[in-house]
Each structure stands twice: as C-alpha cells, then as structure tokens.
Amino acid sequence: MDGIHDLGGMAGFGSFEIEHHEPTFHEPWEETAFLTNIASIAMLGAYNADEYRHSIERMPINEYLPARYYERTLIGVTTLLVEKGLLDKADLDRRAGASVRVSQPAVANIDDGLSQSTTPRFTVGDRVHVRNMHPPGHTRVPRYVRGHSGTVLHVAPLFKFPDASAHGLPRRKECTYHVAFKSRELWSESAEAEDTVVVDLWESYLEESP
C-alpha cells in the first residue's frame, strides 16, 4: 500500500533529537509491547514478521506519525492477535477500561502471476529497472525507487516474498538484490553527483533495464 510508513524522500519533517545515554525502553509498557511481539512471533508462531510490519502500516495516518515506535508495535500486535482470533477486542477493552487501539483492515494483495525462480535472474553489474507497481497490501518496494534504474551490487540469498507472506499467499522464496541508484536519478540535480542510495529489492520488483 502507498501508505504513510513509506517515508523515504518525504519533505517537511525538520530536525530530530539525539538522546545521549538513551535507554532501550523509555516506559515499562514499551518493553511489554516488545516482548509480547517477540513471544507471539517466535514462541507462539501467531503471525510472521511480514504480517507484523503490515499491521503497523495499516494504522490510520494521523495516528502513525505522532506514535512512539513501541506504540506502533503495540497497536500492530493487538490488531493481529484480535484478527487471528486469539484475543477478543471487547475483552481487551474491558481489561483496559477504555477502547484499545487497532489498525484498519487489510486489503490483500492478489498473486501478480509473475514467474518465480529460485535461480537469480540478475547478476552483479546488471542494470535493472524497478517496476511501477502499487499493490494494495504489503510491499517492500519503496515509492522513491519505482520507475527508476540502478545497478546490482550484490545478490542476497532467497527470502520469503513479503507481498505474499504478509497476506498468507503461497509463494516461494526469491533472491533479493542490493541495487545502487544514483541520487541524481532519484532526486534530480539537487543531489550530489557522487552520492548513491542502495535499496534491497526482491526479484519480482525488478525487470531488465530498457
């Protein structure tokens, strides 16, 4: 989905604070949210990491931006445990004494029918072009590289295709590629000529550069 989480290149944020000697968690509930997520994924197997990322992406935009990081974790975890039928929202509301927050429902991707191969289609040095794609559900191809061309620096091993695994679609694993884009290709002449951005992209996001 072309959501608020896909922040790369967006303007208007201003500066950010660096906290020295920062604790891992700022409030006890942040650690509770983190541990509940780890236990739900790693010990219970209630959902996978791609479903988790997407549950956060589905937060309402106006809640996503001001939320603390572990607040997003908490809302994502709550959403998935309710959606999976493990917990009941009305029960959680009673326990909290107020309405717990959950994300908006998912709009699942459909299988794009692209050919799948476990042998890499591209190799180091190849010029590749990022497909102009806008799946309604989870994807990991940022908007800022769609339609742009870059050069393959590295071929990484096979990993689950997230656009499918976030929605329970069957799909085998694909290679990902570290693709270097010239900053000027992405951001025009305002960027430095020597600068580059490397994005790690699944094979289905790529085609041969025209």
Partner: protein
C-alpha cells in the same frame, strides 16, 4: 464515532499481556525467553566485531566475505541477524544505514535501535538530503567523499565498518572496542580516538 475513552499505551499493553497469559496462548516462560533474546541484543557486540576487524586481517576478510558467520564466531547471532552484510567505510566512500519503511536493524550487533533512527524525520530525510542530515548530526563530509545510503528494505541487515582513527596503531582490541559508538556503526558519525 465512538465517544469512548481511548486506552493509554500502558493500559493497552497490560490488557494484551494479561489476556495472552490467562488464555494460555503465552506463558511466563515465553516472556522469559523473549526477555533472554532482548538481553542478547547489544550494540557493544558490534563494537567488538569492529575492533576485532581492525586488529585481525584474517577476521576482517571473513567478516567482509560472510558477515553473518564472522559475527557468529564471536557469539553474536539471533533474530534480525540472519543475513548480516558489512559495509566498509573508506577514505573515498562514507556509508550510512536507514530503514525508510519501518526501522529494521541488525539487532545482534547494533542492538535495538535508538529513537532518532526510528524517527520519521531520519527515515524520510536521509535518503534525500543525506549530507544535510549528517551535518546536523555533527559529521561534515568533504566534497570529494562519496556518500552511500543503504536502505534496509529486505532481509539483509547492514553493519558499517568505520575507519580506524589515526593514532590508535598500538591500541589493544579492548581499548578500540571502547571507542566504537553505535552511531559510527550505523554510519552517521566517525570513530574518534579523543
């Protein structure tokens, strides 16, 4: 629109945890196991990896060839560390890491990431105006140094191997590990011997 009160994060976190425990979906032992994972995630691990690479050319060669295996040699492995790729700073090229879409980080060697790394501002800006962002963080790059930003969009987890500062030629590995910062391994600052 509901007029109901919205739960605070503290109340929501407590509600979810108690419901998971009382339903039996999770046990206290599960939370203990998750906590053990949390305790293993520490950026000082990455500092040890960097110091070893500075002192041991054979280890550095293995680290650059297979970051996951080399970090595991030192006992650093686990979730968000399944495929670690090390990026080496050189006098000609500076590197920095971001995750524009969430906040993916190489947990076993960088620990759970700091707030600035997770901030929408860093995520949005560093791919577009990286020199300005680094300058704001105190790092001014010379014009002849190329800057490369690595966006953690898939399953590779990156670790920057910063330049060893001059004047540390006779330092021990422990002394070196003590001056490596988390920020230098994310790539937004240099290691200083001062």
């Amino acid at each position: 629109m509901s007029a109901r009160k919205i739960a605070t994060p503290a109340a929501q976190a407590a509600a979810v945890k108690s419901a998971m425990l009382e339903s039996g979906h999770l046990t206290d032992a599960d939370f203990d196991a998750a906590h053990a994972i949390e305790e293993s995630l520490n950026w000082h691990n990455g500092a040890k990896v960097v110091a070893r690479a500075w002192c041991d050319p054979a280890f550095k060669a293995r680290l650059m060839q297979d970051g996951t295996a080399a970090c595991a040699e030192l006992g650093f492995e686990g979730p968000e560390g399944e495929y670690i790729v090390v990026i080496e700073d050189t006098p000609e090229q500076k590197n920095a890491i971001v995750c524009t879409q969430c906040s993916c980080t190489a947990w076993p060697v960088l620990g759970l990431p700091p707030d600035w790394y997770k901030s929408p501002a860093y995520r949005a800006r560093v791919v577009r105006e990286p020199r300005k962002v680094l300058r704001e963080m105190g790092l001014v790059l010379a014009g002849n140094v190329a800057l490369r930003i690595w966006d953690t969009t898939a399953e590779t987890r990156f670790l920057v191997l910063p330049l060893r500062p001059p004047g540390t030629e006779d330092w021990t590995e422990d002394q070196l590990a003590a001056i490596v910062t988390r920020e230098s391994m994310i790539g937004v600052s240099l290691v200083s011997a001062a």
